[in-house]
Amino acid sequence: MNAIKRYAGLIWIILGPLGIHYLLQTASAEIAKKPGIDTQIQWGVFITVFYPIAIGFILFGLYALEGNYDQLPAASSEIDDYQAKPL
């Protein structure tokens, strides 16, 4: 199971930039089709919001690939034990 968790990490790492590429492509096509301020704001908000989420998705994939999800804490209190380890 841990091997699946790690290899799947690669998929998440690839999906992040793919998602952003698709978003940017669709946004530019839609803005070109309807060049009003409403369309620009709408797509501007989509990009602003989804860009950091995609970065988070890549980070999630990276953590998975590194094996950080091999062993999950059995209780929330266990997370305190990791406090000494910064990013």
Binding site: E30, V45, F60, Y69, S76, S77, I79
Partner: protein, 512 residues
């Protein structure tokens, strides 16, 4: 005896927390439900700047401000305590909702009106971002470990019940302002829409009074007395790898799928019934009201079940059912109201034409209303508006056509049944999620850590569902259910991540 007191105590906690959260959702939804009326009052389409502010109010409040509110109030809740933080969010939400109901229209005070509405809407989004995490944490920290799912499920019912009450209040107000239904609707669109906003203040005052009498969470009090509260909750939540990985897992393995299932089952379903199936205003709302009423007890049932068998597979089964059946269920919704499947009663066809003279012109505005009755009892009103030109042979290139169908009883209840199923999926994914999120994070940074993934999942991924789904239908115009691609893809990814990475263990204690 002790057990009795404990149980009484927890019900007080649940009552106080749920009532406030319910009011916050109600406040947030009435703005969305009355968006068209509010736009006419404050954001005239003829003025581009006002229309721009309208777009900002719609998008910014739900998608940017909610997660930001989660950070601001989550941090505050971990620094100063749960009780005062979610009291503050309630005051902000109630105050801004009441104030929206008091703002003079654009015609009276000009640009100040849309600017004030935008500011108040942003405050609403901010407050909502802070409320849920506080209420869920507060209840969970009072609950015994073996019934945490059951007790937090009452908080989970509030989002759907808030929608239920907002729809009910709007429908009642819309029909009780005059004995003549048409006049009542006209009065509602003119000034009656303010009533749902204004009555919110009464509910908020009662809720504040109840919450003021509540004590701080015992777990938080304990941490505080031991001097173990967090000094910098944001840094500890997102700057610490061990916690950040759980935040990311909560978002991508649970809340993003929950968000899209939640919004598809309720908001997109209602929008689909009204705008794609063309079912008339009242029926499209009462269908949702019945669906909510029948499905709501399942929030408690599934959350309670999660105390016994774990949270993971209940939540994922909701996503799985949504992924495999959305296309089928929405196709059925469409077919129920599709005139191609029905036989017209030609003898009952009525056509009325009304001409209104255009000032300083020889042309007229022509409104043609065609009423068609079908053998199964469904009626359809088609209103075509165009210009009747005085010059012979000249015709409006694209007349305005509005269609409104009134379903027969049998079809109406079929739609209620489908919406019930859609909301049942919501209860599967949403019922156990508060307990699931609470158990992922330690007490001292719980409010901050659980609020952000919840509001990104629910607010961003979920909140965008109606917009993205509608957008897809404008790109792929031949396919009426193409909008479902978005929730299906997101729920599938989330389901796979959840199945691979999430643990089904129930945290034995959340007391650190």
């Amino acid at each position: 005896m002790n057990n009795n007191n404990e149980t009484k105590g927890i019900w007080k906690v649940i009552g106080a927390s749920s009532l406030g959260t319910l009011i916050e959702w109600y406040d947030f939804y009435i703005f969305g439900s009355l968006a068209v009326v509010i736009a006419n009052q404050f954001f005239p389409k003829t003025n581009p700047t006002a229309a721009l502010l309208s777009t900002l109010a719609t998008f910014a409040a739900g998608f940017i401000v909610r997660p930001f509110g989660a950070l601001v109030f989550g941090r505050l809740g971990d620094l100063v305590g749960r009780k005062y933080t979610f009291l503050l969010t309630l005051v902000l939400m109630g105050g801004s909702t009441f104030a929206i109901g008091c703002i003079p229209s654009y015609e009276s005070i000009g640009f100040l009106a849309p600017i004030l509405v935008l500011i108040l809407r942003l405050i609403q989004g901010l407050a909502l971002g802070g409320e849920y995490g506080g209420a869920a944490t507060y209840v969970a920290e009072h609950s015994p470990a073996h019934r945490r799912g059951f007790f937090t499920s009452w908080i989970q019912t509030t989002a759907t019940l808030g929608l239920f009450i907002s729809l009910g209040v709007i429908l009642l107000t819309r029909h009780f302002l005059d004995v003549d239904p048409a006049k009542s609707i006209a009065k509602f669109n003119d000034w009656g829409w303010r009533i749902p906003f204004l009555i919110s203040i009464l509910l908020v005052v009662v809720s504040i009074y109840i919450r003021l009498k509540m004590a701080e969470s015992p777990l938080y009090e304990k941490l505080k007395s031991e001097g173990k509260t967090s000094v910098n909750p944001l840094k500890e939540s997102f700057g610490n790898k061990a916690n950040l990985k759980m935040v990311l897992l909560a978002l991508f393995g649970a809340t993003m799928g929950q968000g899209v299932v939640w919004y598809t089952g309720q908001f997109y379903a209602q929008s689909f019934i009204e705008n794609v199936c063309k079912v008339e205003f009242d029926q499209s709302r009462t269908i949702l009201i019945w669906g909510i009423l029948f499905a709501t007890p399942f929030f408690v049932i599934f959350a309670s079940l999660s105390d016994k068998i774990g949270r993971k597979w209940i939540m994922l089964s909701g996503m799985f059912l949504a992924v495999i059946s959305y296309n089928y269920l929405f196709t059925n919704l469409y077919q129920i109201a599709d005139v191609k499947t029905k036989t017209e009663v030609l003898a009952k066809k009525e056509i009325k034409t009304n001409l209104t003279a255009i000032a300083n012109s020889t042309d007229f505005i022509r409104k043609t209303i065609t009423k068609t009755t079908f053998t199964d009892g469904m009626t359809m009103l088609q209103t075509q508006t165009d210009t009747a030109y005085a010059i012979p042979g000249k015709a409006t290139i694209k007349p305005l056509i509005a269609i409104s169908k009134t379903l027969a009883s049998n079809d109406y209840w079929k739609m209620v049944g489908i919406v019930f199923l859609l909301i049942l999926y919501v209860t599967l994914v949403y019922g156990p999620i508060a307990a699931f999120l609470v158990e992922l994070f330690p007490t001292k940074i719980r409010y901050t850590s659980m609020s952000l993934p919840y509001h990104i999942g629910n607010g961003v991924f979920g909140g965008l569902t109606p917009f993205i789904a509608t957008l897809l239908t404008t790109i792929y115009t031949d396919n009426k259910i193409v909008g479902l691609m978005y929730p299906i893809i997101i729920a599938t990814i989330c389901m796979i991540i959840g199945a691979i990475y999430i643990s089904n263990k129930i945290d034995p204690a959340v007391d650190r």
